[in-house]
Amino acid sequence: MGQLAMENIPRSYLRYTRRKIFIIYLLVLLTALLGIYAINAGSAELSPAQVLLTLLGKAEGRLNIIIWNIRLPRILAAVTAGIGLSVAGCVMQNLLRNPLASPFTLGISQGAAFGAAVAIIALGAGSTHSTSADAVIINNPYLVTISAFVGAMATTLVVLFLAQVRGVTPEAMVLAGVALGSLFSAATIILQFFASDVQVASIVFWTFGDIGRASWRDLEIMAAVTGAALLYFMVNRWNYNALDGGEETAKGLGVDVERIRLTGMFVASLVTAVTVSFLGIIGFIGLVGPHMMRRVLGGDHRFLIPASSVMGGLLLLASDTLARTIVSPVVLPVGAITSFMGAPLFLYLLSRGYGKR
């Protein structure tokens, strides 16, 4: 019997890993189905048949414009941004050994938004207006992204510095993140008062995000950076697994902890910066996605990284579709929806965290 049980370990182990892969595929399928639904849903009534014809390139002009220029970029932007924010959160939680870490809770998104606002308003890389249809227009996406990245990295360096200080608890680090986030948000709003117009609509963009803002060109940049980051994170999946067991264990397993932490935070900040540049601040996706998947699949980054990514894409697509349809034709800010989802989880983690330590 004992012999038999031993023989079976690799087989049951393989079955168990196949189950994880199956769940990831299932999430991909769900995202695709939701994407098709989301193309249909909205103020302009479309039928699935019309959508199919359009995607195959066999439809008349008005449909072409709605689907190719409005719906499709929006859906792809939601999925791409969701992937980027969620995987950034997943890796940050590991690197900082802090379950409360994410681009939003550490203030990195807010830092990026300030950087982007500086480029758009002060450096002339775009313009802001008071109508929600064109609240923020980006003319030079590269300058905006670089400036956002500088803002994100500034926050990240403060976070990394705090992580080095002995005895800083995860909760204290998030408190520092809240302070930094508020500071940058305030700076972003003040900056807008110095701009030519009074831009109420653009304030919404910077604080709650707007996925409908992405053009095909923006989408290409976002997808390229997110894809490269995902690849980098997957290459390092064993390093992250080792780090989960503690810093000394990781070093004992041959991980250059300082280098992995610095480069990982750098890449995660870059993904955050690109997303925030084009879509504004969307909170909590980087917290909810990884935590859901860690519960379901465990902490093994071989599966957690792809699963968190897909889950993030699915969550943001679902949030945006809800934001567009719940009180149609009014479109709610997507960040408001994700906050309703994320804030309760955040409070739960906080209370549980205090109990454990």
């Binding site: 049980a5 264990t249 070093k251």
Partner: protein, 250 residues
């Protein structure tokens, strides 16, 4: 000789913790490090694994200078189990598979899985293999981290108080497993121990640390009542019981 340490000195910031450390460990040896709490045992073990970098001194592993090797190369030669470790949301199998990390290039091979299965069997962990670490008892978790170090297939095992959470039966099983691995694979184990009687049972050589440096180092002959009393500050007698040496505080 598999490990050779000479003139090692270490300070945390400017507080000296180790000075003038010099000893050698041979193949097939179970080498115990003994001393009071705070004597610097864990610090010494971390220096041996370059987690901490000594300010001066040399450490050679199989005649290679440890300080010129990369982290990964060090990890292929030395397996380290810290005194404290964290329970995570990993299954036992995946946690032990992590021990293969220094050898893995991109993905795990059938050989990696086979090694893990084998180690789990030896330590009697097979029934837990798909259980999450945060659902294990302290003793089970301790066996998992030791299993990980064995799966690493190192030339030298560095274990920091590996039996502190184990019951009597498991203390013996784990130390026997380490001893057998050392003999069969002709490697070495450097083990920080707090139980003197277990050390007497399993170790071939002893290093007694006191006042930041070596008080005595050698085979059974250094485990005299005078030396032990000198290190621990407690008078003891060394007796034989059923032909097994035991240390009794007086």
């Amino acid at each position: 000789m598999i490990l050779s340490v000479d003139g090692v000195e270490f300070s945390y910031n400017s507080r000296p913790v180790l000075r003038d450390i010099k000893f050698e460990v041979n193949r097939g040896e179970f080498f115990a490090i003994l001393g009071n709490n705070g004597a610097g045992k864990s610090t010494l073990l971390k220096c041996l694994n370059t987690i901490l970098k000594p300010q001066t001194g040399t450490i050679l592993i199989e005649k290679e200078n440890l300080f010129v090797l990369s982290r990964r190369e060090v990890a292929r030669r030395l397996g380290y189990v810290a005194q404290r470790y964290e329970s995570t949301r990993f299954t036992v199998f995946d946690a032990v598979l992590l021990g293969r990390k220094p050898h893995i290039k991109w993905g795990t091979t059938a050989r990696d899985l086979e090694i893990v299965r084998n180690v789990l069997g030896i330590l009697g962990l097979d029934e837990f293999s798909l259980r999450y670490l945060d659902e294990l008892s302290g003793g089970e978790l301790q066996k998992v981290v030791i299993a990980r170090a064995l799966a690493q297939e190192p030339r030298v095992l560095l274990l920091d108080e590996p039996t502190s959470n184990l019951d009597l039966k498991n203390q013996f099983e784990v130390l026997k497993t380490v001893k057998r691995a050392v003999r069969e694979q002709n490697i070495a184990a450097v083990v920080v121990m707090h139980d003197l009687n277990l050390a007497l049972r399993f170790a071939d050589k002893f290093l007694l640390l006191k006042n930041r440096t070596i008080f005595a180092c050698g085979g059974m002959e250094v485990m005299t009542p005078e030396n032990i009393a000198g290190v621990y500050g407690v008078p003891v007698a060394v007796e034989r019981l059923a032909n097994i040496p035991v240390i009794v505080p007086l």
